[in-house]
Amino acid sequence: MKRIAIGLYAAATVALLVWGYYQAIFVAPDEATMHEVQRIFYYHVPSAMSAFLFFAVSLVGSIGFLASRRNYPEHAQRFDAWALAGAEVGVVFCSVVLVTGPIWGRRAWGIWWTWDARLTTTLILWLIYVSYLLLRRFAAGPQVQTLAAVLGIFGAIDVPIVYMANRWWRTQHPAPVFFGGPDSGIKDPRMLAAFGWNVLAWIAWGVLILGIRYYVERQSQKALAREALEALNQV
């Protein structure tokens, strides 16, 4: 039953992605100044939103781990798996943002990269979470989970700085789609629809791979626990 539900969800996600792709390429109208290259936006922005969402998952996991590690070790393991999965999937989405961004920028601004606040801070965000994953790989033993959770919280504190950076610092980047002032936002309803579908599709996809990553991590935790138990009961 569970397997069927997961299968259905995966199928729906892929269908959503195909539909979103169709909307972005064939339905949404050409943008007036940037023309076709603007369609990168339909992948770029939803990926950025997903990245933030999954970093938030990682933060919740980290806090949950620290809160429960003493009294509810079983829960703590789950939280830790969520924290790791969130960070890793977030990094994947953040990579997409960092790759598609310059491709768009080359056509729109004529340069691949600029050390503008929003770009820089997104890059920093990516670096922070990569360092989180490095810490998890480098350090060994049960203390890694605690240390990683602490680093996860530190990393998350940088996220609002990244978001606010857009308004604090002068920037070349287009105004954010939401809450960006009266001139921002998408006016054409077909563009909005294409954008909406892609947001939905990418978040659904992200949740799917988040689930898989979580499952894989839980399996490896269980394998470790089993190994430990065997060591314990060995004569």
């Binding site: 360092s131 810490l135 480098f138 350090a139 680093l151 700085i161």
Partner: protein, 222 residues
């Protein structure tokens, strides 16, 4: 200032006074970085003003990493940390004392380095020089507070010396950016650095608070 904080601070300062490991190694290292940069970029005139702020900040940053690792390695060496963990005083005091001590060491290095720097880069400050007295301490505090915290965090893992810069630099980057840009705008006098100073100040407040709150967890992580 609590008594425990004072106790830790006096101890840290006394040990440093006897060995002078941290300050000496930092000074020499920072000097090397400054020389290396001036060799590779040949700074002159306006250009030297543009890059000088960055070079100074980056030099301090690289130099302080070794000292920060040292600071905790000293506690680990004879398992002194275990004795400290058994004492009933809060870990936050120990952390804050270490930050203060390291802050002092880095500041000493900066004060010694500054004249050398002005000479080697032929600097003439065009902006409000007194603002440097805000930017440098704020920036140094950001570096040292985070650095001390992450050094404590990475000292417990394998590859400890390698790990500290890897996790410290990304987190420190916003502050570095603010520090470099503020110093730059003071040196060139082109723009007003107050926004960056505010940012640094906010960063200091936020990260110092979080470090103090989470330090106990790092200290007792096993």
């Amino acid at each position: 200032m609590t008594r425990a904080l004072w106790t830790h601070l006096v101890k840290d300062l006394r040990i440093e006074w006897r060995s002078r490991e941290a300050v000496n190694s930092m000074l020499f290292f920072a000097l090397l970085v400054v020389v290396l940069f001036s060799l590779s970029f040949d700074p002159q005139g306006a250009f030297s003003r543009d890059i000088a702020g960055g070079v100074l900040c980056v030099a301090t940053m690289f130099a302080s990493v070794s000292a920060l690792n040292q600071a905790w390695a000293r506690e680990i060496r004879h398992q002194v940390l275990d004795a400290q963990r058994m004492a009933p005083t809060p870990g936050a005091d120990m952390f804050l004392a270490k930050v203060l001590a390291n802050f002092l060491f880095v500041t000493v290095v900066q004060v010694v380095l500054a004249p050398v720097f002005v000479v080697m880069y032929n600097l003439r400050i065009l902006g409000d020089a007194w603002k440097l007295a805000l930017v440098l301490p704020f920036g140094t505090w950001a570096l040292v507070a985070n650095g001390t915290f992450f050094a404590a965090l990475s000292i417990r893992s394998r590859n400890r010396e390698l790990l500290l810069p890897l996790i410290l630099f990304p987190i420190f980057m916003p502050a570095l950016l603010a520090m470099v840009l503020a110093t730059g705008s003071i040196l060139t006098g082109d723009s007003d650095p107050s926004l960056w100073i505010k940012l640094l100040f906010g960063y200091d407040i936020i990260f110092t608070t979080v470090s103090l709150l989470l330090f106990e967890i790092v200290l007792h992580a096993e």
